[in-house]
Symmetry: C2
Subunit: 360 residues, 2 copies
């Protein structure tokens, strides 16, 4: 796929937010990448145009039947001023896996990654350089055909928008309390939980709000069949360090195959720390705590990188993990992964991809 990407320059550029007021997902850059799909033409008309409103028919299928998927990755500024991406090939691959699961036409992965790089070149002045800041990249696709019968859409729109974001935690990691959800289920094997569909997130919000109302930051989801096996936390994967060994739920078909999850596993292997992907019941975790063997619990995801868990509540039992302190392994993983992402730690895994010609 070697279509030319056309470009329309925004006439008046926006004011950029100061790097201490970035937040997450609030500011968008001057331009966006857009591409259309029609059954007859396939994906066509790739273009970088000023960020601005979309015109949508009220019958557009995304509003009715929810064919919509997305990815999330970041562009990082390194000390020498180059800009790099972290394992973007995995995001491109999962983008297509998500498309396939919702019967959305896939896109050439190299073309999409190239389009993202071209957009970054145009928006290089938006890439923040302060400690911990980055440019969040959101590729997504949704159904646009105006038709309200239930079947896959014949028209789609693919966009990439960019948002400068601050560090999720500010200067330091902060252990969070987690609620083990028993009433609501996120996903089941055979469903769409292993990909990034819009509907997965909509379905999680009520449980998340109820947990927040009880004072918890996030939910730990259990499996749909037996309501006893650990799945994932909010929108992160989860890891447990028990008696010197790390375990994380295996990719069962209902768990997201996270990029950070995989990076954690590869790092642990490289460091010689035992790590297993397997079915883990929540009872095992509480039992390990009772034996004094539950050393650390942490989530892993693109937004937070590593998020230590300080407290777990399941039914009427609450346990504290590592006295609610950040564990040394959580900290080491956070430092190493962000170090590689920001070009401060040597990338022994070839995880980073330089964005050509972008130098801020």
């Amino acid at each position: 796929m070697s279509q030319h990407i056309s470009f329309v320059q925004r006439e008046e550029l926006k004011n950029k937010p100061s790097s201490d007021a970035l937040g997450f997902g609030v500011h968008y850059t001057d331009h966006m990448f857009v591409m259309d799909y029609e059954e007859e033409q396939g994906w066509h008309d790739p273009r970088i145009i000023p960020y601005g409103p979309l015109t949508m028919d009220p019958a557009a299928m995304v509003f009715h039947y929810g064919q919509a998927i997305f990815e999330g990755l970041k562009a990082y500024t390194t000390p020498d001023g180059t800009v790099q991406l972290f394992r973007p090939d995995r995001n491109m691959k999962r983008f297509n896996q998500s498309c396939e699961r919702l019967h959305i036409p896939t896109i050439d992965e190299d073309f999409l990654l190239n389009a993202i790089q071209q957009l970054l070149l145009k928006e290089k002045d938006w890439i923040p350089t302060e400690e911990g800041t980055s440019l969040y990249i959101r590729p997504y696709v949704f159904a646009t055909e105006p038709f309200i019968g239930v079947r896959p859409s014949k028209q789609y729109k693919l966009l990439v928008i960019l948002s400068p974001v601050g560090s999720y935690y500010g200067d330091q990691l902060s252990p969070v309390p987690i609620y083990v959800e028993e009433k609501y289920i996120r996903a089941s094997v055979g469903g769409v939980g292993e990909v990034k569909t819009a509907g997965n997130y909509a379905a999680s919000m009520k449980a998340q709000k109820e947990a927040e109302a009880k004072g918890y930051s996030q939910i730990l989801w259990l499996d749909s069949k037996e309501n006893k096996y650990v799945e994932e936390v909010g929108s992160m994967n989860i890891f447990f360090k028990i008696n010197g060994e790390v375990v994380t739920p295996e990719l069962s078909g209902s768990i997201l195959n996270g990029v950070t999850r995989n990076s954690v596993i590869e790092l642990l292997n490289y460091w010689g720390i035992p790590v297993r992907e397997e079915k883990i019941s929540i009872q095992e975790i509480f039992d390990a705590h009772a034996r004094g063997e539950l050393e650390e619990v942490f989530g892993a995801g693109t937004a937070v990188v590593i998020s230590p868990v300080g407290e777990l509540t399941w039914k009427d039992q609450t346990i504290q993990v590592n006295d609610k302190n950040i564990g040394p392994l959580s900290q080491r993983l956070y430092d190493t992964i962000t170090g590689i992402q920001f070009g401060k730690t040597e990338d022994e895994f070839n995880w980073t991809v330089q964005v050509d010609e972008v130098r801020v």
Copy 2:
């Protein structure tokens, strides 16, 4: 809630399609109902305006996290020219149940029904009068706030659009072949399968297309826990007549509480035909067929009313139901329900609601 609904008349009315070329969900009327939600103001600015494009920010949350739900009902023309709705209170109630499940702010049910009636008054010339035709009514709501962090949106848009539709089957019912799905799961208890979220439909499309490719019209979904209990068919509820008695899956928490489903149960009770709502394994259905006791199978839903099933395939076994003919009970239910809907059969249940002042 007694807000005034403002009205902007379309300048040039559309040409109306002829009643033999209506199809389903292809044509939309001249006007639509729109209302907005902001956290500070609640639902506000109800208006009937010309049907036309919406302006959406690319970061609007519906594209990313899928908070979107809908309802579907129809307006029917009776022989004396009045227009009526069929059990709209149940659609209004379910509209709010769907909202609640996705943490979308609910709306006053009477107000929404009144808004629909006012829209119908404006669009009365669009209500088709030919045998079997009706005006499909689509109320829906979706998240519009431009924000790409995962949490419920603080802004929403509620719309009602109208589409004149033909009879689903033309003149007569036609038994369809159904594929019992084993690989994909539609919903699990604790999930969102019992309400009408956009994401539920997106998640069903791949399985539906794969079944179509094998020559089947629809899928019969099984439960997520044991993959053996019958749930629903495509976007319909399902009924089995076995040895003189009718059974349908109970409302377990993962099955849609269909308006037609409930109407079928009430009619059967009224007619003195035994009907039970219970857990039914697919094995029981095949066993009943082997004993020669499986008399009829049919789906029930707003679009099709009653859809007879002629063939069921599960794993490598295919059974034919009633020699692929329409069963007498399926036909009687279809005739009675459509008779009531179109004002040709006495409505002993007070199911129909006249739309005041609409007389076509």
